[in-house]
């Protein structure tokens, strides 16, 4: 897909996320869709409405959410670790391209949810000074990579302050 090539400010390559990220998003979507599908099934079984009025559309939407959307999202995302900044690109319908200069980073989190942990992934969170939208998240990187990126950013902060 690579929709970013045209409007890339610096013309450098984006690093794609770890392929396992698709599975993580799929599992999350599955857990999200499950209650709705179950509800539709119940409505189907009680025979109050005509057959399939709820079940069919909900199943279609769930299928899209679980199968198609994660792949598209995966391809829309990417990051780029520069010498003094991190660029995070994301979004299908609402596209966003965020640059965080390391000089503005206050602290760094490496977060692992239970699903991410199962796939060996982590989310790198950079907290910047400020009150609104102050943290930039980069999900779907391998845990070891996230730790390495943390070290690099931290080293940069140290160098800059000295």
């Amino acid at each position: 897909m690579a929709p970013m090539d045209a409007n890339e400010p610096e013309g450098d390559e984006l690093t794609p996320l770890h392929p396992n990220y698709v599975k993580v998003v799929r599992l999350g979507a599955l857990l999200f869709a499950l209650p709705f599908v179950l509800g539709a099934l119940v409505l189907e079984l009680v025979h109050v409405f005509p057959h399939g009025v709820f079940l069919v559309p909900i199943l279609l939407v769930a299928l899209w959410l679980v199968v198609r959307a994660p792949l598209r999202r995966y391809h829309a995302r990417g990051y780029q670790l520069g010498p003094d900044r991190l660029r995070v690109v994301r979004g299908l319908m609402f596209h966003s391209d965020t640059v965080v200069p390391f000089g503005r980073v206050q602290h760094i989190d490496v977060h692992q949810g239970p699903i991410e942990r199962g796939y060996g992934l982590a989310t790198l969170v950079l907290h910047t000074a400020g009150t609104h939208n102050a943290s930039v998240k980069l999900p779907g990187v391998a845990h070891a990579d996230a730790l390495a990126m943390r070290e690099e950013i931290r080293a940069h902060i140290k160098r800059e302050t000295m």
């Binding site: 206050q106 989190d109 943390r150 902060i157």
Partner: protein
């Protein structure tokens, strides 16, 4: 985790903080439970209803508090403070010393009864996203503050970083009056952070 640092550098908060957590949990759960007992009319059954409820509440408070304590550890590194916490969902936070503006020590009522102090490292990242270590004893809290202060004073001090804790702790033991009196917020800001 998979850091190069020696595992013994990781520290847990004081074991007593688990008692504090349990007490706070009990305090928070007490009223709702009472309301539930009265609301459902279960209290009319007398001890048969009240004793198991209270026991379950106690067990849950202790369990959660213990899990929280067991899965929280921190480390004072060469250039940052690290905290790792969480059972299912794990977060590892790293705060470089350069970014710490202020170290505040707080004692709320319940922790105070147990002689525990809550240490907050404020970084200027708006709102809740700061580093909190709860709870440690007064000596450790002071040592934490001193360590941050030493690192802010200059990078040279880094060499002595392994030492300050026990040394500072013993100093505090020798003069406990002074340290316990000035618990509320003390600033460690060294003023050089606005230099850009």
């Amino acid at each position: 985790m998979s850091d190069a640092a020696a595992p013994e550098e990781w520290r847990r908060t004081s074991p007593r903080s688990f008692l504090v957590g349990a007490t706070m949990g009990l305090r928070n759960a007490g009223l709702p439970t009472l309301a539930a007992l009265v609301g459902t009319g279960a209290w009319r059954a007398g001890w048969v209803a009240i004793v198991p409820t209270a026991a379950a509440m106690l067990a849950l408070a202790v369990l959660f508090s213990w899990i929280a304590w067991r899965h929280f550890r921190y480390r004072l590194g060469d250039s940052d403070i690290r905290v790792e916490r969480g059972l299912f969902s794990r977060t590892a936070r790293s705060v470089p010393y350069e970014r710490i503006h202020d170290v505040s020590l707080e004692q709320a009522l319940v922790p105070r009864l147990f002689g525990m102090v809550e240490v907050k490292f404020e970084t200027g990242a708006g709102g809740k996203d700061e580093l909190v270590i709860r709870y440690v004893d007064a000596a450790e809290a002071d040592a934490l503050r001193e360590t941050v202060r030493a690192h802010k004073a200059g990078p040279v001090v880094t060499a002595g970083k392994a030492a300050p804790l026990p040394e500072s702790a013993s100093r505090r033991m020798a003069a406990p009056k002074r340290s316990s009196r000035r618990i509320p917020t003390r600033s460690v800001t060294s003023g050089n952070r606005y230099r850009h």
